[in-house]
């Protein structure tokens, strides 16, 4: 995968995703700081964050540093030449000459694909307003695989905002590619769009978690975003709708895992944290070995 751009999860074949996972497995001890590595020594990763996403940026930086590489970049465009009117095209042309690969987050849809066209060096999309955030999708799949031993035939409940929360669309497609059964749980107002539905394996659709929690192997909870609702009362009504707590989880299988891309607001009660169901922090950690694997593969230090 040397030199490859990672713009959409759909650009990756199933075998390539599996390769990322097997390399990630070999990175876990390094990610935990138990083992040292200099695999990316002398390599520089540029992180271009045209809108802030501190967590994602730190995760890439940690992955790079764990492998002995270095990072340059920005997450506040106020201090950059972008503030002086430089366009994305020129920024990418300049930054590619400073680095071996770049990670980009940008508010405009399609910005990452555009950057990849401009740059000779590999580009990773860390969210570009189009709902594509392939490293998040990879780490979600990787987490499910680790927790359950495999994804095929497992029942995944996708819960919350399935309409606007577009990274969940990419995840649903990828889950279908791996043979999972999908249960869509959302308020009517936030249903998954038809064009996504027709591409995925839907087992059931509904508004209540309780109706399907017994069958669930994974409960993947997304945040309902305030900015989607012009009417605050409407938001208040929907946002509290899906609150997972340890009481509710008594209905679930013992091995059922709860995932959340974080940050959570009130979707998951703190009393879940101490249960065996809580996988969201492990999910966040898994972002490190997955990104380490991806960086090693696209920079050509692992085949």
């Amino acid at each position: 995968m040397k030199g490859r751009d990672i713009i959409s999860i759909r650009d990756l074949k199933k075998e390539e995703i599996e390769l990322v996972f097997s390399v990630a497995d070999s990175m876990v001890d390094i990610a935990l700081g138990k083992k040292e590595s200099n695999a990316l020594e002398h390599k520089i990763l540029a992180t271009l964050f045209f809108e802030p996403s501190t967590r994602t940026k730190m995760s890439f930086e940690s992955a790079m540093l764990r492998l002995g590489g270095r990072c340059i970049g920005f997450s506040d465009i106020g201090a950059t030449s972008v503030a002086k009117g430089e366009n994305l095209h020129d920024t990418v042309r300049v930054v590619e000459s400073y680095s071996d690969a770049m990670v980009i987050r940008h508010p405009k849809e399609g910005a990452a694909r555009y950057a990849a066209e401009i740059s000779e060096k590999p580009v990773i999309n860390a969210g570009d307003g189009s709902g594509e955030h392939p490293t998040q999708t990879l780490l979600d799949l990787y987490t499910m695989k680790k927790a359950m031993g495999g994804i095929a035939g497992k029942n995944v409940l996708l819960v919350g905002d399935l309409k606007y929360g577009r990274t969940v669309h990419s995840l649903a497609r990828a889950l279908s590619l791996f043979g999972a059964g999908i249960f869509l749980i959302s308020p009517r107002e936030l249903e998954m769009p038809e064009e996504v539905k027709k591409e995925i394996n839907i087992e059931a659709e509904g508004e209540r978690i309780e109706d399907h929690i017994r069958e669930a192997d994974v409960i993947y909870v997304t945040r309902i975003q305030k900015e989607r609702f012009p009417d605050p009362a409407e938001y208040a009504k929907l946002s509290g709708r899906y609150r997972i707590d340890s009481k509710l989880l008594e209905m679930a299988k013992k091995e059922c895992i709860v995932m959340h891309p974080l940050p959570r607001v009130e979707e998951i009660a703190y009393d879940v944290d101490s249960t065996e169901h809580a996988w969201y922090f492990r999910e966040a950690f898994n972002g490190i070995p997955v990104r380490m694997a991806l960086l090693s593969l696209i920079m050509g230090v692992v085949e």
Partner: protein
């Protein structure tokens, strides 16, 4: 109602079966020589499509590439090349697989609509009949083009 006869031209191009009401837009897309003699008939009765527009451009022969540009707004158009009063060639418009620089993306949040980026507007034609285009950058699918022709 009797179908309107297009007055014959001796040399040039006749574009028939243009979607009713879009002939002026078609004309603007084709970038015809401003000196050319052009006649235009709008909302003519058509057996096949109810109403249609017809455009005649004298002393100018359009080629297939030119006319593919109009396929988005006049998908049923037929082109007749006339020489010495004879129809020497007739073809239908057909969309290419990729369209560049003709329409802009309807998604205001798309990178291709950022004015200071030197980005070429590229669309994949995912359905030639309807037609439906998909933006290369943001992935938005479009089936209405009239307001988005560049």
């Amino acid at each position: 109602m009797r179908e309107l006869k297009i007055e014959a031209i001796r040399n040039g191009t006749v574009i028939d079966h243009i979607t009713a009401g879009t002939a002026l837009k078609v004309l603007s897309i084709l970038e015809v020589d401003p000196e050319a003699t052009i006649s235009l008939a709008m909302n003519v009765s058509s057996r096949k499509y109810g109403k249609k527009d017809i455009l005649k451009i004298e002393n100018m022969e359009l080629n297939e590439d030119d006319v593919d540009r109009i396929a988005l707004i006049a998908p049923h158009a037929t082109i007749n090349i006339i020489r010495g009063g004879e129809k020497v060639k007739k073809f239908k418009v057909e969309l290419p697989d990729t369209i560049k620089g003709i329409v802009r993306c309807m998604n205001p949040g798309c990178i291709s609509n950022v004015s200071n980026e030197p980005v070429e507007r590229v669309f994949y034609v995912i359905d030639k009949k309807t037609p439906i285009l998909k933006c290369k950058y943001c992935g938005r699918e479009m089936s209405e083009f009239l307001d988005y022709i560049l």
